[in-house]
């Protein structure tokens, strides 16, 4: 193999270096980088040299935990050094100039990793991280480990909230236009984001009573002035087959879900948001809701339940990387319970959705209730499994 032609790249590297030197701050910058390294004992570093062709050594073994590396670029062009887990970068140090050293610290968990060594065509090296006592002493996940999952859930809540408001607005618009058929078609899609968020939303009792009351709980049932929200619209669209009187109800729904969106946004993040809310909604489903049904007029309960499951699954999905290392059995139990309810719901699917809930017999409902009870039981173990260690 021939040496890489020192054409463009070197000219630019040299030009780059010259420009950096002109900018006085740059030299200081590199110096300060180097200083950061020298504060620690030399023995604390794993030394790696990147040559024109490979890393030396090309295979590293280190114990799990926070580990520091010192990388010397002995090739004639700027290089980067990366630790890769599959295609994902665990940690990297970029733009190490020829002849320069750079240091890098990574928190490593046991496993096999690859390291990159200069040119993309150069063979990669390996990094083996072995289990260590130090990494195992922490009993529960750290608060830090929960930042990612909580943020991810917060994003989900924000996106579903936006969808909930947009859905209500579209439904209100169809009602305003006097288009019954369109409004009927928009009812379920408008409601699903609310059901995905229900595990958090139900805590706001005032809003829940305005957004999601069922007629059975109201003195005058459908004729009650407090009969508002989704089910009031459902009643008009599917029972009375009329848009009469629905426009103000729909406008109120838009206002209420917008308030809900704002409240969800300002909810203080807590681990309970992830560990407790799923179990609560699974319990509610298991204790009565599945048996009785809620959508008395449209019979779209299975869509609702499937959306509840999506909401629950989001919390367990984001928690998985934290849960699995600390409580693998709980993770497996939740997985199995989720698979069970999903399988039972899938069995009730038709080509374009779910069967009408009035066609779901008592025995099937009872079985589904039991499966949600098992899911609730599995989810209740989350709070204890995710004990935050200080």
């Amino acid at each position: 193999m021939t040496e890489p032609a020192p054409s463009h790249s070197m000219r630019f590297a040299v030009a780059g270096a010259a420009l950096l030197a002109i900018a006085g701050g740059a030299a200081f910058y590199f110096a300060s980088q180097a200083n950061q390294g020298s504060k620690q004992e030399a023995g604390d570093f794993y030394e790696v040299t990147v040559t024109a062709k490979a890393c030396e050594p090309n295979a590293l073994t280190v114990p799990a935990g926070k580990r520091s590396f010192r990388i010397l670029n002995s090739s004639d062009r700027p290089v980067e050094w990366e630790i890769l887990d599959g295609v994902m970068v665990v940690e990297e140090r970029e733009n190490i100039a020829p002849g320069f050293k750079s240091t890098m610290t990574a928190r490593l968990v046991p496993g096999e990793y690859e390291i990159t060594c200069g040119l993309l065509s150069n063979p990669r090296g390996t990094l083996t991280v072995t289990p260590s006592e130090e990494a195992e002493t922490a009993s529960g996940p750290s608060l830090r480990a929960l930042l990612g999952p909580l943020s991810e859930y917060k994003v989900y809540v924000a996106l579903q909230s936006a969808e909930m408001v947009a859905g209500a607005e579209a439904l209100a618009a169809a009602i305003d236009e006097g288009d019954l058929e369109k409004a009927q078609a928009l009812y379920v899609p408008a409601r699903l984001p609310y059901k995905r968020l229900e595990q958090l939303a139900y805590r706001f009792a005032d809003l829940e009573n305005a957004i999601d009351p069922v007629a059975d709980y109201l003195e005058k049932r459908e004729a009650d002035a407090a009969f508002t929200g989704y089910h009031r619209i459902e009643y008009g669209l599917f029972q009375e087959q009329s848009l009469e009187g629905l426009a103000p109800v729909a406008d109120k729904l838009v206002a209420d879900v917008t308030t809900l969106k704002d409240r969800l946004r300002s909810m203080k993040p807590s681990t309970a948001m992830l560990t407790d809310s799923g179990a609560t909604i699974a319990e509610q489903l298991a204790h009565g809701r599945i048996e009785a049904g809620e959508n008395r007029y449209a019979h779209t309960d299975l869509d609702d339940i499937a959306a509840n499951v999506e909401g629950i699954r989001k919390t367990t999905d984001v928690l998985k990387p934290v849960l699995e290392p600390h409580a693998p059995q709980v993770a497996a139990e939740i997985d199995a319970a989720l698979q069970q309810v999903t399988a039972e719901l899938d069995a009730l699917k038709t080509q374009d959705g779910f069967v009408s809930y009035d066609e779901v017999d008592a025995k099937t409902r009872e079985k589904l209730s039991q499966s949600f009870q098992s899911l609730a039981a599995a989810l209740q173990k989350l709070t204890d499994a995710i004990q935050v260690s200080s």
Binding site: H8, A15, G16, I22, G25, A26, L84, S121, L159
Partner: protein, 275 residues
């Protein structure tokens, strides 16, 4: 002890920490959740835009419209450059989307050289779109894949907070020289996006540090302000002038500011307990 108890203790520790001069730097706080979530939404909006803009860019290439493709090159890249700290976590895509010729043994002639800079090379150095169809299709497939992967990714908090400095370090080390967009000289588009991406992270975490460290915040803001002012001189109706028109004086200003920003912002992780 129940988890919520541990959390309320942590929350209390935070409440005490704020405003006191000797707050422990390693305190981790759930207050970070909000900025992290907002940052993910920012990144997701940018990758969505990237897919949209790349679709138009690729269409221009496949239409053989060299001038249009050239005019779309700079703006299309901006949504990638804003979110580079996250985008480059996917090493395979970072290579296929944004690698430079220097990363390859045979430089521009290397058959593996793909992505934005390969297209840039052919558009400007060869003044043609000939032979770019496949590379353009691959670019669109790659940014679409990136959009999906980013949506599925739980962002590592230290990468988000560290990203503010990473962007500035990259500008300082390998961009201020003009080597990134060496064929098109659209570097000012990239810079502007890199600064915007870095500033976004800073602004999002600012509420968590401003009480403890008002001087630090003021200094960083002043440096970002200087950068904005300098770049504003080179703005045109639809973007930026060629990087070759940047005066030596302004290059020195940018270079100095970017180095200070890189250095200052590199302390953000520590300030937020994420080292």
């Amino acid at each position: 002890m129940h988890a919520w108890k541990a959390l309320s203790v942590a929350a209390l520790a935070f409440a005490i920490g704020v405003g006191s001069a000797n707050a422990k730097q390693e305190d981790i706080t759930l207050e970070l959740v909000e900025p992290l979530a907002d940052y993910k939404i920012y990144v997701a909006e940018n990758t969505k835009q990237l897919v949209k803009d790349t679709t138009a860019f690729v269409a221009a290439i496949k239409d053989g419209d060299v001038e249009k493709a050239k005019s779309l090159f700079g703006p299309t890249r901006t949504s990638y450059e804003k979110i580079e700290p996250i985008a480059e976590l996917f090493s395979d895509l970072d290579v296929s989307i944004d690698a430079r010729a220097d990363d390859y043994e045979k430089a521009e002639q290397d058959p593996d050289f793909t992505g934005f800079h390969k297209i840039e090379y052919v558009l400007w150095e060869k003044d043609t779109t000939d032979g770019l169809d496949e590379i353009a299709d691959k670019l669109l497939a790659d940014v679409t894949d990136l959009d999906k992967r980013i949506n599925d990714l739980t962002f590592p908090p230290e990468k988000v907070v560290g990203g503010a400095a990473v962007l500035m370090e990259e500008v300082a080390a390998t961009k201020i020289s003009g080597e990134e967009d060496r064929y098109s000289h659209t570097d000012l588009w990239d810079f502007d996006a890199n600064f915007a991406g870095s500033k976004k992270i800073f602004i999002l975490v600012k509420p968590l540090i401003v009480e403890d460290d008002p001087e630090f915040v003021a200094k960083v803001e002043e440096n970002f302000g200087d950068v904005d002012e300098t770049l504003a001189k080179y703005k045109t109706d639809d973007g930026f002038v060629s990087y070759e028109e940047l005066t030596d004086e302004d290059r020195t200003v940018l270079s100095a500011r970017v180095n200070t920003l890189a250095e200052d912002l590199s302390t953000l992780r520590g300030k937020l307990g994420l080292d």
